[in-house]
């Protein structure tokens, strides 16, 4: 096996909420990311899926150290990076970049496209000052924007174009790893496919490694090599994309897949769906029990009486990992 570019070992990110009262020592903690192990090889596209609140965005931010993980380790290219000081970590920043969901919020409204793209180039001294303009226009070209728009402000662009600017900004420092947090969810259907094509092309041309966070499984299936399904801060199933779609094991993965509406009325009328009742439980002090037992309204199954089982390979020498609880159960 190749050496992974990024490796997470038992990564946990907990947020402490307000204490119940000043006399009560007990604190409320949101277990946003709760013990995640992952390996991402160079050039791989990893999809992170799950419902809102499952911790997929926090995981993305934790591995970029935009939030400080509570415990666990992140190895980048073999080097442990979570314990580095921010100053030491700064050298890794150019190598890992992020694309955010909402291109209306992630761009400074008072900076022109040129300002936004030239800033990281200037700060990290990627190109000499005299070549800034040339480099910015090259970047705009790469993401399919005409360089003549360089002096325009974000509000003068459409949503799709803004997302292109955000992507150009992420590419400015020539990163190896990009964490894309729902980059197409805020866009229209016809614009979505334009941006997905762009991400796909850039990935190929620049040999990028991608962590693609999304709740839209059809998009993830199209773009990703491997998919990790998250629930309540934990990965419940991990497999190669096609394998996951055609042979899902965990009840949660199954219901996520069957909840995607298929754009064909005839199929929709006849298909059998597994509906997951209710909503995810609150991640505040979740305790140790199996988080699914409450969700599916049943008692714990034979496998998860003592809490959620470990993430294990389904068969030996298999890349399909799963926490083997609630596997057989069908609801509704």
């Amino acid at each position: 096996m190749k050496k992974p570019l990024l490796e997470l070992k038992n990564l946990k990110t907990h947020f402490t909420l307000q204490k119940k009262s000043i006399w009560n020592k007990e604190t409320l903690k949101v277990h946003a990311v709760d013990g995640v192990n992952l390996k991402i090889e160079k050039g791989q596209v990893l999809g992170l899926v799950g419902e809102s609140g499952c911790g997929k965005s926090t995981l993305g931010r934790s591995l970029m150290r935009l939030v400080q993980p509570t415990s666990g380790q992140v190895f980048y290219d073999g080097q442990e990076v979570t314990s580095l000081s921010m100053k030491e970590f700064a050298q890794y920043r150019p190598k890992m970049q992020m694309i955010f969901q909402d291109p209306y919020a992630s761009l400074d409204p008072r900076m022109t496209v040129y300002d936004a793209l030239a800033e990281p180039l200037f700060v990290h001294k990627i190109v000499p000052k005299t070549e800034l303009v040339a480099e910015v226009s090259r970047l705009m070209d790469v993401v399919g924007l005409a360089p003549r728009f360089m002096q325009k402000y974000p509000h003068e662009f459409s949503g799709g174009q803004r997302q292109r600017i955000a992507i150009a900004r992420a590419l400015a420092l020539r990163p190896e790893l990009i964490v894309a947090d729902e980059p197409v969810s805020a866009l229209d259907v016809s614009i979505q496919s334009q941006i997905l094509n762009l991400i796909q092309d850039l990935k190929r041309e620049l040999d990028l490694t991608l962590v693609f966070i999304s709740h839209d499984l059809s998009v993830v299936k199209y773009l990703c090599d491997d998919i990790a399904v998250m629930y309540q801060g934990k990965i419940v199933e991990y497999a190669e994309a096609n394998e996951l779609f055609h042979n899902p094991q965990h009840i949660y993965t199954k219901s996520l897949i069957s909840a995607i509406p298929i754009p064909d009325p005839k199929v929709e009328r006849t298909r059998n769906r597994i509906d997951l009742p209710g909503e995810p439980q609150s991640p505040i002090n979740p305790g140790t029990g199996c988080p699914f037992a409450k969700r599916v309204g049943s008692k714990t199954c034979s496998a998860c009486r003592d809490g959620l089982p470990e993430l294990k390979a389904m068969n030996a020498n298999d890349d399909h990992l799963i926490r083997t609880c609630h596997v057989e159960e069908l609801i509704g």
Binding site: E51, S52, S158, G160, D188, V189, S190, I191, Q192, S193, Q194, L196, N197, Q200, H215, D216, L217, S218, V219, K221, Y222, L223, C224, A241, N242, S255, L256, S258, A259, I260, P261, I262, P263, D264, P265, K266, V267, E268, R273, D275, L276, P277, E279
Partner: protein, 332 residues
């Protein structure tokens, strides 16, 4: 006879930068127990058309310039506000996209739920509360007595949308307009909400207008579909007809660009460019600027717009040069 018959509806917005023809001559009808799906990109006028029916277009700058909308024989567009108020919230009601901005954060759910009953049905508060309990139970909320005394922030997104639905249905309206009711929700919760609307519709024989940009959702809920683009309906017909025999170049392109229809790594089919600026004169076919099957001059010289070709069984398509060409090809 149809419950609602809309004819040549035009809603324009008079702004400093020109007249935006948000809805420009649309006609459709909905019968009892039927679901009409309206699909289109943002800015296609799908929301504005329903706001026009409800008398919710902000005026100024908006104005319904022409058209009729016969609801059970009465023209909604000619009513004054007190006449409209008697119908709105009683015989027709609406569910909005974002349940957080549509509920008053200062008022208890119970109070907000019974408001239409107090106004329209002149029930006493006690009777109304009883009905509210039933309404919440109908949408699958448990522990209703406690829930009625809770504030909106104590509910999760899916729960809030359920409350919105309960509120819209509490007076047993004949027509329900749902404007992207599931766009802000997770797929699993979306599946629950769609089932819920479907169930309630069957039980009460409500007519539903369902607005969304998601073709999958349309396939799941709609009996009839209107495809809107740049303020006009380009194609309409039964869901089966529109999905199986899409005829307008835009409908075909839209169906072609769905990511789930592609294998991993394939280049997605995407509609290049952006929708046209609605404040300009747009002679001929509105899709011509992005259409790949453009028949040179015919697209804008054609003065017949908007004229529809009937393909049988209510399947209608805007007859531009390329649909004519496509139909000729199909006949061969």
């Amino acid at each position: 006879m149809a419950l609602l018959e809309v004819n040549d509806l035009r809603t324009y917005f008079y702004t400093r930068s020109g007249v935006f023809k948000a809805v420009d001559g649309i006609s459709f009808d909905v019968s009892k127990g039927e679901t009409l799906g309206i699909v289109g990109e943002s800015g296609s006028g799908k929301s504005v058309s329903s706001y026009s029916l409800m008398g919710l277009v902000p005026s100024p700058p908006g104005k319904v310039v022409s058209g009729t909308a016969l609801f059970d024989g009465q023209d909604l567009l000619k009513m004054n506000s007190s006449q409209l108020q008697k119908i709105r919230g009683k015989r027709m009601s609406m569910i909005f996209q974002d349940p957080m901005t549509c509920l008053n954060p200062f008022l208890k759910i119970g109070f907000q739920l019974i408001e239409p009953l107090l106004i329209h049905d002149k029930l006493s508060k006690k009777e109304a509360m009883k009905k509210a309990e039933q309404a919440l139970e109908d949408v699958g909320i448990t522990d209703v007595k406690k829930r009625l005394n809770a504030y909106p922030h104590e509910f999760s997104g899916g729960m809030r949308q359920r409350v919105m639905i309960a509120m819209a249905l509490i007076t047993e309206p004949e027509l329900l307009i749902a404007d992207e009711p599931t766009t802000a929700l997770d797929v699993t919760v979306q599946a629950q909400i769609l089932d819920l609307i479907n169930d309630l519709q069957k039980r009460k024989n409500t007519a539903v207008i369902f607005i969304t940009h998601d073709l999958g959702v349309i396939a799941r809920v709609a009996d009839k579909v209107n495809v809107m683009y740049a303020g006009q309906i380009l194609e309409s017909g039964s869901a089966d007809a529109v999905f199986d025999q899409p005829t307008h170049a835009y409908t075909r392109a839209l169906l072609k660009s769905i990511p789930s229809r592609f294998e991993k790594g394939e280049t997605l089919y995407s509609i290049e460019g952006l929708p046209p600026n609605l404040s300009k004169e747009l002679p001929g076919c509105r899709f011509q600027y992005r259409c790949t099957q453009k028949q040179k001059d015919h697209c804008w010289k054609d003065a017949r717009f908007p004229e529809y070709a009937d393909l049988g069984q209510g399947h209608q398509v805007q007859s531009c040069a390329c649909t004519a060409e496509y139909l000729k090809e199909a006949q061969k």
